[in-house]
């Protein structure tokens, strides 16, 4: 649950691939407005679950004992459990949580045809993030509660009783406080700069039916990594440098139809971050923060196919994308090596996505001198068809572009 919900690893595509480059000297300014409201994700087993799924925990003694890291407190708790005539399966109810977010990204992109074959671009994403977080508890077994509270009262452990009632009354916030996290904000709104992207496209081949382009992009670490003291932190980017290489090929089919195939490989360079190191495999929540841990995010492979229909400035298109990301790797010094492996748990990702696009541009009219400027608008909608460890919510992108 902790950390970055959207930026690290695989993200849903916000535009269809194209092998086209700008003519030499032509400049293009595009404004992308991206909207999404994540509430669900694909789990490690590829099933859809709420973003706040990790909050939903059984308040059984088994879970409570697992969550108590101090062996002395665990021994005391186990003894009281036995004295109350209860066992590990006995439960007080469930803790519940919900995370709903809305992310609106504004991405100005400036592109220029540097030569006939080479187009360079820079994209500066800025995200406006709104998050609603709620936690709750659904107590159910009155008899278990009565037996345990009675034992604490009878043995004179009144202070422990207060502590216990507080813990099961608000288990999520109590645990966060115990572990030194910032309290959950019910509603939060903030803006973050994302990772700035430098894009280069090189046209390598073109004839009447084919256009092939090589792509090289560099993602700069301008986004800030997730705050280790915030349980839910939607960041602007992952704060780390990436190099993406790709090849795009347009098949100009009959008339206005174009089929684009693309393949990309994104190399994520290693860096150092401050983060929490899990104490257990089953939970990433931990009291232990380690600074300057070596992080090597897994590389990402992506293939895409898109079919577009363009006629007198109107474009209708659809595309399919498949992405796969390797496991992350963390290396630290302060704790046992397996704890760094747990940090990388569920970092293998995959995503299948479908994009639908409709747009209109005046380029052909401008070329016919029927319109004073070449410009266009478009609306792209992305649906996540399947995935693993990725957000599943749909995403919509509006774009406005102007050539000059």
């Amino acid at each position: 649950m902790t950390g970055d919900l959207l930026a690290a690893g695989i993200a849903a595509p916000i535009g269809l691939p194209t092998a086209k480059v700008l003519p030499q000297g032509v400049r293009n300014m595009t404004f992308l407005g991206v909207m999404t409201a994540p509430t669900e994700r694909y789990s490690a087993s590829s099933s859809i679950e709420p973003l706040g799924q990790d909050f939903n925990q059984e308040l059984s003694f088994k879970k409570i004992l697992e969550g108590e890291l101090d062996p002395i407190k665990r021994g005391q708790l186990r003894q009281k459990m036995l004295a109350a005539g209860l066992d590990e399966e006995d439960s007080f109810g469930v803790s519940l949580g919900e995370v709903n977010a809305q992310v609106q990204a504004s991405i100005p992109v400036f592109a220029m045809g540097m030569t006939k074959r080479w187009t360079a671009a820079i994209a500066v994403p800025v995200k406006k993030i709104r998050v609603n977080i709620a936690s709750s508890v659904l107590h159910s077994n009155q008899s278990v509660h009565a037996a345990f509270a009675n034992i604490l009262g009878n043995t004179g452990a009144g202070g422990k009783k207060v502590e216990f009632e507080d813990k099961i009354g608000d288990p999520i916030n109590e645990k966060l406080e115990e572990y030194g996290y910032a309290p959950l904000e019910e509603s939060e709104e903030y803006s973050r700069l994302g990772d700035i992207l430098l894009i280069n496209k090189f046209k390598t081949f073109e004839n009447k039916f084919h256009l092939t382009t090589l792509n090289m992009s560099i993602s700069l670490p301008t986004g800030k990594a997730a705050d280790p003291n915030k349980l839910v932190d939607i960041t602007g980017g992952d704060g780390q440098t990436d190099l993406e290489l790709g090849v795009l090929h347009d098949f100009k089919l009959t008339g206005p139809l174009t089929l684009t195939l693309a393949a990309h490989y994104r190399l994520q360079f290693s860096d150092h971050i401050d983060t929490r190191v899990p104490e257990r495999r089953s939970s990433r929540i931990s009291p232990d923060v380690e600074n300057n841990i070596a992080r090597d995010l897994g590389d990402i492979g992506k293939i895409e196919a898109a079919l577009s229909f363009s006629f007198v400035g109107v474009t209708l298109a659809a595309g399919y994308g498949l992405q796969y990301k390797n496991a992350d790797k963390y290396t630290g010094q302060a704790y046992a090596s397996e704890r760094y492996e747990w940090l990388a748990k569920d970092s293998v990702q995959n995503m299948q996505s479908l994009q639908l696009f409709m747009g209109y541009d005046t380029v052909s009219l401008y070329k016919q001198k029927k319109f004073f400027a070449p410009m266009g608008v478009g609306l792209n909608h992305t649906r996540i068809l399947a995935g693993k460890n990725v957000v599943s919510s749909p995403l919509t992108t509006f774009n406005f572009k102007l050539f000059f």
């Binding site: 186990r78 519940l96 709903n100």
Partner: protein, 414 residues
């Protein structure tokens, strides 16, 4: 025309993107949480019994320090299984055999040690409850009759007497010319009639015993049936309570053994003895030097202390005073953390560590009945524990190590 269309289209997208309906259509609206909530009603105890007077002398106390996982590298503790099950046989829950074997992880060893010691504490508490319940039941019975039972039992169940030469069924306690030379031992079993016959057999009882004792004997014989009934009530109680009395001493021995072994392994102190009335009794029984008496006196409102003086043996140089007066106890406070729950905290400077203690103050209500623990005290509805202060400690050693511990101090009501 086209410019107008393009402008309209872009404006539509820009303005629509700010519209909630538009966002909803594209699944981009921020949803409000909709979680259900249901919480247990929490009941805390009645407020402090401030009107009840408390004795100054500490009845019983415990001070022990647990070990950290890293202390357990070589620690192994395998108690005798029979002694183990004997110790826990009266517990309300099943306590499996939990030896601390060499192949356990240190963290498991640390948890087991706590579970064992806490369970021993529970067994000792239960035993105390039973033995004290029985003692209070017996103390509540007719004291005069109880005294008669003791007298009768002492003097007439087994006595020596010289038979008369003239009537061998009668005898004298003192030998003279009327008696034969050989003394006879009479054993009296069972009924009041037999005891009556035994007394009637002694012809010189009125002369040998002093008048008061003689009157007591006669009264005892007259009320024998009543006394016998009382005795029949008490004896089973005493018999049933007897093994619980053993549990307390066995438990203490277990804890002492395990913590002394730990002290040998870690080289750090884990067990200290706070002087108490029970320690005094033990010292008397063992004919050891009587420890100085620890004392605690609350103010009238029970919100502070007039006296807080503990004599503690930290295993270095015998009992030493730890009090506010000599500065070895500091920051002594009572704070109400919830309505009816009061917490006592203090800092104590021991020879090898500094202890920061936090204890819950429990003024057990004498009118409250406890859940029965066993058939032995099902009938007793009495306050047993009196005033109980129980809690945890953090112990900071000179080498920078911190170890958790527990402390308990008990006092009786006047």
């Amino acid at each position: 025309m086209q410019l107008k269309s393009l402008f309209l289209l872009s404006s539509l997208f820009v303005f629509a993107s700010c519209d909630e309906g538009f966002k909803k259509f594209f699944g981009a609206d921020l949803k409000d949480p909709h979680l259900k909530r249901k919480k247990f009603d929490v009941l805390y105890p009645k407020p402090l019994l401030v009107n009840r007077e408390v004795k100054q002398e500490i009845r019983d106390a415990t001070f022990l320090i647990y070990a950290n996982p890293q202390d357990f590298n070589t620690f192994v503790y395998l108690p005798n299984p029979k002694e183990w099950f004997d110790l826990f046989k009266f517990l309300d829950y099943k306590m499996p055999y939990l030896g601390i074997q060499a192949d356990l992880e240190n963290i498991e060893k640390a948890e087991r040690l706590v579970l064992e010691i806490q369970s021993i504490g529970q067994a000792r508490d239960d035993a105390f409850l039973v033995t004290q319940s029985v003692a209070l039941d017996i103390a509540g019975m007719d004291r005069e009759k109880l005294s008669l039972i003791k007298t009768l039992k002492k003097d007439f169940t087994r006595y020596k007497c010289f038979p008369l030469i003239s009537d061998k069924k009668k005898c004298k306690l003192k030998k003279d010319l009327e008696t034969i030379n050989n003394v006879k031992t009479y054993k009296v079993k069972g009924s009041c009639l037999r005891i009556k016959q035994a007394v009637q057999r002694i012809v010189d009882l009125s002369i040998t015993a002093n008048p008061a004792e003689f009157a007591k004997f006669n009264k005892g014989i007259d009320q024998c049936q009543q006394i016998k009934k009382l005795s029949d009530l008490i004896e089973p109680l005493e018999q049933k309570a007897a093994p619980y009395g053993l549990v307390r001493s066995q438990g203490k021995q277990f804890v002492t053994d395990i913590l002394e072994k730990l002290q040998t392994d870690t080289g750090a102190l884990h067990l200290a003895i706070i002087s108490s009335l029970l320690e005094e009794q033990e010292a008397e029984r063992d004919e050891s030097p009587i420890p100085p008496r620890s004392q605690i006196q609350f103010n009238k409102a029970k919100t502070a202390f007039n006296i807080f003086k503990l004599f503690i043996d930290f295993g270095t140089d015998g009992y030493r005073e730890y009090s506010l007066a000599n500065g070895k106890v500091e920051q002594l406070n009572i704070v109400e953390i919830k309505p009816g729950i009061f917490e006592l905290s203090f800092v104590l400077h021991a020879p090898e560590h500094r202890t920061e203690a936090s204890l819950t103050l429990n003024f057990h209500d004498p009118d409250l009945s406890r859940l029965p623990l066993s058939e032995v005290h099902q009938t007793t509805q009495k306050n047993i524990f009196g005033v109980r202060m129980i809690g945890t400690t953090e112990n900071f050693y000179l080498d920078g190590t911190m170890r958790h511990g527990v402390v308990k101090i008990e006092l009786d009501y006047l």
